[in-house]
């Protein structure tokens, strides 16, 4: 295996992916904890504050200058929901030493150290974060939360998921809540941070042409030395049970030219194997240009420009989304329901089934050609506690049968139909 996993301390893992496919090295640090209404806004502000400055690079300007000098090493951070976990993500991408104009610069080591510095050695003044940074970032987070409405297609999907998971962790908005921002200050955010980094699950990924001992670099790193071993609490995402709910319809009005129709569906996930079957079902239903939805809604009925479905594998949901003319709501919904029934009845050809599998297999083969995708793939496995090589993954998809897909189709139920209109 070219991926190697080592536990640096209890709850802190290093994953190295040795590959010569890229001109770059990519280092990632992921912090994972169960998402709650209490911590979601804290996590959101925290992620933003950390990029503002560190003990040794106290301003954003200094951070930027350092990175520019490292041939435009790019730092990025983000926040995601994976299952019922909130993941704080930090990345640093830099050019591999081989492709630098000058030789002798140790870019990978520098990159690892810089990223660890940003995540684990923030600027602290009088036992708290710098007030100015916290206030500014609270402001920014507020804007980001308000910005939810800007992309109508994404907004509609987000709203559908909220309706499906009312009062539940997965229904929380990943950037948090504006009304909770006033509870956050430089002092309690720092306390929260200290607790977080000493209790959360930490995964460090290093991908690239690696010719030095990364675990050695980590073990000698002061910021890693200062972290406690921990028994991290996080939600494993292997099995997902759904409670049958009544199908509900929700509609909302906004200033839009095109209506957005979103249908959220539930599927029980018994084991990892089931996820492969659902992947194939999803590909047939709306995962590609040959899928039922694309063909029937867009190509045959000319009702939409986009019509697709997406499988949220860590939660056992399929989300169908279409952009349609507002007056065509009933007609489109009718066609979609017909497709779901057709899938249950096995109204798809063997050829369509094989084509869907081919599409998935091709995507799996491509995983190793994208550095961040490969990291996300292995991190997903880390969270579900299931280790499958891409080769095994491909075999598992190839084995999915017509019967498997029909079984999945009969276990799918509509949870929420959401419509954004004018």
């Amino acid at each position: 295996m070219k991926i190697k996993k080592q536990e640096i301390k209890s709850g802190i893992k290093l994953h190295t992916i040795n590959t010569n496919r890229f001109k770059t090295n990519l280092v990632a640090v992921f912090l994972a904890i169960p998402i709650t209404r209490e911590n979601v806004t804290f996590n959101s502000v925290l992620t933003s504050v950390l990029r503002r400055g560190t003990k040794n690079m106290p301003t954003q300007e200094q951070v930027s200058k350092e990175l520019e000098n490292m041939y435009g090493a790019s730092f990025d951070c983000g926040i995601d929901k994976t299952g019922d976990n909130h993941i704080l993500k930090f990345y640093l991408e830099s050019i591999n030493d081989k492709f630098l104009p000058q030789t002798g610069e140790k870019m990978l080591k520098q990159s690892i150290e810089k990223l660890l510095e940003i995540v684990f050695n923030p600027l602290v003044e009088n036992g708290k974060f710098k007030e100015e940074y916290v206030e500014q970032e609270k402001n920014n987070v507020q804007r980001r939360i308000e910005g939810k409405i800007d992309n109508k297609a994404k907004y509609a999907i987000e709203r559908c998921i909220e309706e499906m998971y009312k009062e539940q962790p997965y229904g929380l908005y990943r950037y948090g809540y504006a009304e909770d921002l006033s509870k956050i200050n430089a002092s309690n955010l720092y306390k929260y941070y200290q607790e977080l980094i000493n209790t959360c699950k930490i995964d460090i990924f290093v991908s690239g042409k690696i010719d030095s001992d990364i675990s050695n670099i980590l073990e000698e790193n002061e910021n890693i030395k200062n972290l406690n071993p921990r028994e991290p609490k996080y939600v494993q995402t292997a099995t997902i049970r759904k409670i049958n709910t009544q199908e509900k319809e929700v509609s909302e009005s906004m200033d839009v030219t095109q209506g957005k129709l979103i249908i959220g569906m539930d599927i029980n996930i018994e084991d990892e194997k089931q996820k492969y079957k659902v992947s194939v079902y999803n590909a047939l239903l709306g995962g590609s240009a040959t899928s039922k939805l694309f063909q029937e809604v867009r190509e045959k009925a000319s009702l939409a420009y986009s019509a697709s479905s997406n499988f949220i594998r860590h939660k056992g949901n399929i989300i169908i989304s279409c952009g349609i003319e507002i007056k065509n709501y009933d007609k489109t919904l009718g066609i979609i329901r017909k497709q779901l029934e057709d899938m249950k009845a096995g109204n798809f050809t063997d050829e369509e089934l094989e084509n869907s599998k081919k599409g998935i297999i091709s995507a799996i083969k491509g995983i190793e050609d994208e550095q961040d995708t490969e990291i996300t793939y292995y991190f997903g496995q880390e969270l579900s506690g299931n280790e499958v090589s891409t080769k095994q993954y491909i075999e598992a998809i190839a084995q999915v049968s017509r019967k498997d897909v029909i079984n999945v189709a009969n276990s799918v139920s509509i949870n929420t139909i959401y419509f954004l209109k004018d």
Binding site: K65, G72, Q136, R143, Q258, N355
Partner: protein
């Protein structure tokens, strides 16, 4: 075949101009599973008036034909749709239209040659009927409406409309529901036959290929066609200066979106100028700049605006796009900063630091087969060899930067476009 090599990057490109006038670029990549092919024609939304080789009179067609053609190329006479056929093979196929070119592409890990059969077959076999043209108007109409809801798209188009008096770059690539209503199969065939001649086309492949083998495979899939003469492209005369300095549209957005456009004149030194403008934009508004820090600390902007330079032989402009609580403050302070730099010159350390960053950005473009191939195609239509960016960056000095700053960054040529509630 001509071999173009870049030693710094350890990259090679094989270039061949075929007898029928078509250019093939082959970029071999060992170690990758993904293979990518893109076939483009030097024909985009800007071409609505032209003289067909061999004819005397100019032809004028409705706006949006290039994009309409792109949509319709997939449909085949035997009732199949090539996009479906390609997807069924497990490859990821797509097509797109820009201001100056249209491209058909796919990416795959397996079945490359089967997919290449289909790609090269459908691009060479147009099939338009009155019925299938009418049906497409519905789908494209939905696409136009979808874009109407994107504030990002509106703020961009409004910028171009404020900068250009006549040049077609200011028009929506898709055309409008009105213009596409005038498209019929005759128009489509006329444009196809004019612009999809091999002498107006380039094919780029990137992946684990042997150059000689892949070249033969491409050649044997080409229909016999003769190179035609030059297509005369007619653009309306574009006066200097902008139409207006400010444009605003109301939309439901949480925070105003803005684009600052700077209308420029195309330069002979395309690559060098492009690099200089990238350095300047980053010195002015990049993450380490004084102005960015000020605007961020005042809560006016949340993130670094995107900084771009778009150009062909026929037009050129800078675009600075972002979100701001007060876009006019960004606009005014940018002008002030430009004036300050013009007066005080460019700091050499800063200039070389930003150049290092930009060098890294260029190297990263070679990570992915798709990105590399698309870059070579788009640059080719501009008359550029993509490696030139890596080779020429060293020669871009602060003195030249200052010269470009003085020539291009003029208040009179700047426009501000805003979308807000």
């Amino acid at each position: 075949m001509q071999l173009i090599e870049n030693l710094k990057l350890e990259e090679k490109v094989y270039k061949e101009k075929l007898e029928n006038g078509m250019t093939v670029l082959i970029i071999p990549r060992e170690n990758t599973q993904k293979k990518y092919v893109i076939w483009g024609t030097h024909y985009g939304s800007n071409e609505s008036k032209f003289i067909v080789p061999g004819e005397k009179e100019a032809t004028e067609v409705p706006k949006g034909v290039a994009h309409f053609l792109e949509h319709k190329m997939f449909e085949q006479e035997n009732g199949t749709n090539s996009l479906d056929v390609l997807t069924a093979l497990g490859v990821e196929a797509n097509a797109y239209t820009t201001n100056d070119h249209t491209a058909y592409l796919f990416e795959c890990t397996d079945k490359f040659y089967e997919a290449l059969d289909e790609l090269m077959d459908y691009v060479q076999h147009p099939y338009f009927t009155d019925e299938n043209v009418e049906k497409e108007k519905g789908i494209i109409g939905q696409e136009i409406m979808m874009y109407d809801d994107y504030p990002e798209w509106r703020v961009y188009l409004n910028t171009l409309e404020a900068m250009y008096h006549n040049h077609p770059v200011k028009l929506d690539i898709t055309g409008t529901i009105e213009t596409i209503s005038h498209i019929n199969k005759e128009v489509l065939y006329k444009c196809y036959n004019t612009f999809y001649n091999p002498s107006n086309m380039v094919l780029v492949v990137c992946g684990d290929f042997k150059p000689d083998e892949i070249l033969e495979e491409i050649k044997k899939r080409l229909l016999p066609k003769e190179a035609t003469g030059e297509i005369k492209r007619i653009y309306p005369k574009e006066p200097n200066g902008v139409v207006k300095n400010y444009v605003e549209q109301k939309m439901e957005v949480s925070m105003p979106l803005f684009t600052i456009g700077i209308k420029d004149i195309p330069s002979e030194e395309k690559v060098k100028k492009h690099i200089a403008i990238e350095v300047l934009l980053n010195m002015l508004l990049g993450r380490s700049s004084k102005l960015y820090k000020k605007l961020y600390n005042e809560g006016i902007i949340l993130a670094q605006p995107s900084l771009e330079y778009e150009f062909t032989d026929d037009y050129a402009h800078v675009l600075i796009t972002g979100k701001a609580t007060a876009p006019e403050k960004v606009f005014e302070s940018l002008k002030k900063e430009v004036a300050y730099l013009k007066q005080n010159g460019l700091n050499e350390n800063e200039f070389s630091r930003i150049k290092k960053m930009i060098y890294g950005g260029y190297v990263k473009e070679y990570n992915d087969v798709a990105e590399t191939a698309r870059m070579f195609l788009a640059d080719f239509f501009k008359g550029i060899n993509s490696f030139d960016y890596i080779d020429e960056i060293e020669s871009v000095k602060p003195e030249y930067g200052l010269q470009v700053l003085t020539e291009t960054f003029n208040d009179n040529n700047m426009v501000l476009s805003v979308v807000k509630k």
